[in-house]
């Protein structure tokens, strides 16, 4: 009886896995077929006369993937790094200086979580245009602004739990505020830094609307942006569009395989706050 129950649970799990993976399975198998093969038999395996692995070479070139990958990587990494630096510094200062002003400031950062991007995007682009910020560096700056709320909330919550005796000892030993933070406090923040990095890197990597509004030169396109134009161009040519989609997903899947534990932990922590 117990065994039957266990086996049926496992069987049910297997079915669920098939159901969850089937969209990706269908896209991957079809990406190896010629257009005719896709149209004639969308569920068949990519063997025989319709097998066409050259799709990938063609899609890779048409997509100019290396270029958009480097753009995405550079923007994501630099935005995440500056968010980490400035959010951790600000959160620490807001926790340790127990003034009324700090409290109000923290509340303002937290309340801004509710503001949907679409409600500020038009004046933002107008303003950034005037400041001559519609380029990748400007984009990174904007990510600092939009990433500030969640990152400060997470750091704030974590820092409140660290005893400040260590910091006081460091001051007595002659460290200034800057040294106290970078030599003593920041290393202690490592667990939350991992969480904040992952949460920010994930949404920045996948973000589409802000880059679409900010970046106007094709050579600066990020992966989602490039994918948008690529798919528009080849939407009826599935034999190019599908391998393009698979190529665009590969970096995320690899990242997930290696960072799974941290990602799941980060997402859980990020949502509970």
């Amino acid at each position: 009886m117990e065994k039957l129950k266990r086996n049926s649970l496992l069987g049910f799990g297997g079915l669920l896995v098939l159901l969850f993976m089937s969209p990706l399975y269908i896209v991957v198998t079809n990406s190896f077929k010629s257009q005719k093969g896709i149209v004639i038999d969308a569920l068949g395996l990519p063997f025989g006369e319709y097998f066409r692995p050259e799709n990938y070479i063609q899609a890779f070139e048409e997509l100019r993937f290396v270029r958009s990958f480097i753009n995405s990587l550079a923007i994501t990494v630099s935005a995440t790094v500056i968010i980490i630096i400035f959010a951790s510094m600000a959160a620490w200062m807001l926790v340790r200086s127990k003034s009324k002003f700090s409290g109000v400031l923290f509340m303002v950062f937290a309340a801004a979580m509710l503001i949907p991007f679409q409600s500020v995007m038009l004046p933002l682009i107008n303003l950034m245009g005037k400041l001559n910020m519609l380029h990748p560096v400007g984009l990174v700056f904007m990510y600092l602004g939009f990433g500030s709320s969640l990152s400060i909330i997470l750091y704030h919550g974590f820092i409140k739990g660290i005893p400040k005796e260590l910091e006081e000892a460091a001051v007595i030993d002659g460290c200034n505020t800057f040294q106290v933070f970078w030599y003593i406090v920041f290393p202690l923040l490592k667990p939350i830094t991992v969480t904040v990095s992952i949460l920010n890197a994930m949404w920045i990597w996948n973000d589409f609307l802000l880059p679409q509004l900010v970046i106007n030169k094709p050579e600066w396109h990020t992966i989602p942006l490039r994918m948008f134009y690529f798919f528009g161009q080849y939407s009826k040519k599935w034999f190019l569009a599908l391998p393009g989609l698979v190529i665009a997903m590969i970096p995320i899947v690899i990242f997930y395989i290696f960072m799974q534990k941290h990602i799941v932990k980060g997402v859980t922590q990020g949502s509970i706050k």
Binding site: A90, L114, L144, N206
Partner: protein, 288 residues
């Protein structure tokens, strides 16, 4: 320990500057522009009072349609995503083998960007569904995304597939926090599985439901990428959601003042709905 004002400025200043310039000032400007005939380019906008808002409420069928479509979509997807997510969480905490593998599989879609997922599902609905429909003679599977209702359910399926794994992770964390002793005690008292779920598990994971409902509700209301890549608002703007309607009003129809009025209505709607949900969920947490 005291830090001087100078250090406060150095530590808080940079991110505060970015936050003010990117979030706070645009929000204030946005509220102001919504009362003007702003054209999006220069700043010599004239005050026009409530006329942008009146134009939205009186004559803009597409916006009213987007509003009801978004509200219906949010209602359906919030229920679907949380029910599936909670079901998955119960399931993966019950199985003895492969629990980790199951979790990884269910969570993975959440990491892939919405834009790319929309294109993936566009292929599934149009080509794979079409093929199944043709081979099996099932009319129901044919012509997906070409009508408003299949576009609606297409979006709901896509979002359930993408977000239920995310909710699962949150619910798993909550389920694991339930003390084993409570479950044992209820078992000794003779409670069956259903009673345990209703009277022990559900009340104890109530805080996670507050979070789950908040995330799915606000994500559904703000949805843009998946909407754009799956249906693009077709057919004839009937599957257009609020965010896309604002975008199109601004950049396709170049009607900036009206678009910004819509953006302010959007801001108020999202805040009121999510705050109301938080208030009632928190209240229920206590009552349960």
């Amino acid at each position: 320990m005291k830090h001087s004002k100078m250090w406060f400025g150095i530590f808080v200043g940079p991110i505060l500057f970015a936050f003010l310039l990117v979030v706070v000032i645009p929000m204030i400007l946005g509220i102001y522009f919504s009362f003007t005939d702003w054209n999006g380019i220069n700043n010599n906008a004239n005050w026009v009072g409530f006329s942008n808002y009146l134009e939205v409420f009186r004559g803009d069928e597409d916006f009213l349609n987007a509003f009801t479509f978004t509200a219906k979509f949010a209602a359906v997807s919030v229920v679907l995503i949380n029910a599936i997510g909670f079901g998955l969480a119960l399931f993966v905490t019950k199985v003895e083998k492969f629990s980790g593998l199951l979790r990884s599989v269910f969570f993975m879609p959440n990491l892939i960007g919405g834009l790319i997922l929309g294109f993936v599902w566009q292929f599934i609905f149009i080509k794979a569904f079409g093929y199944i429909g043709k081979e099996m003679g099932w009319e129901f599977f044919q012509g997906w995304l070409s009508t408003t209702s299949t576009g609606f359910w297409g979006l709901a399926i896509l979002m359930s597939w993408q977000m239920s794994g995310y909710m699962m992770v949150i619910y798993v964390a909550a389920l694991q926090n339930i003390p084993e002793s409570l479950i044992e005690a209820s078992r000794i008292d003779g409670a069956n599985a259903l009673q345990r779920l209703r009277h022990i598990t559900m009340p104890l994971v109530a805080p996670a439901f507050t979070v789950g409902l908040f995330l799915t509700l606000s994500n559904s209301f703000k949805l843009y990428d998946q909407n754009l890549s799956l249906t693009g608002g077709d057919p004839a703007h009937t599957t257009e959601m609020l965010a896309m309607n604002i975008y199109n009003t601004a950049f396709v129809f170049n009607n900036m003042g009206v678009a910004q009025a819509k953006a302010v209505i959007f801001l108020i709607t999202v805040s009121v709905i999510t705050l109301t949900q938080m208030y009632y969920s928190k209240k229920r947490e206590v009552e349960m």
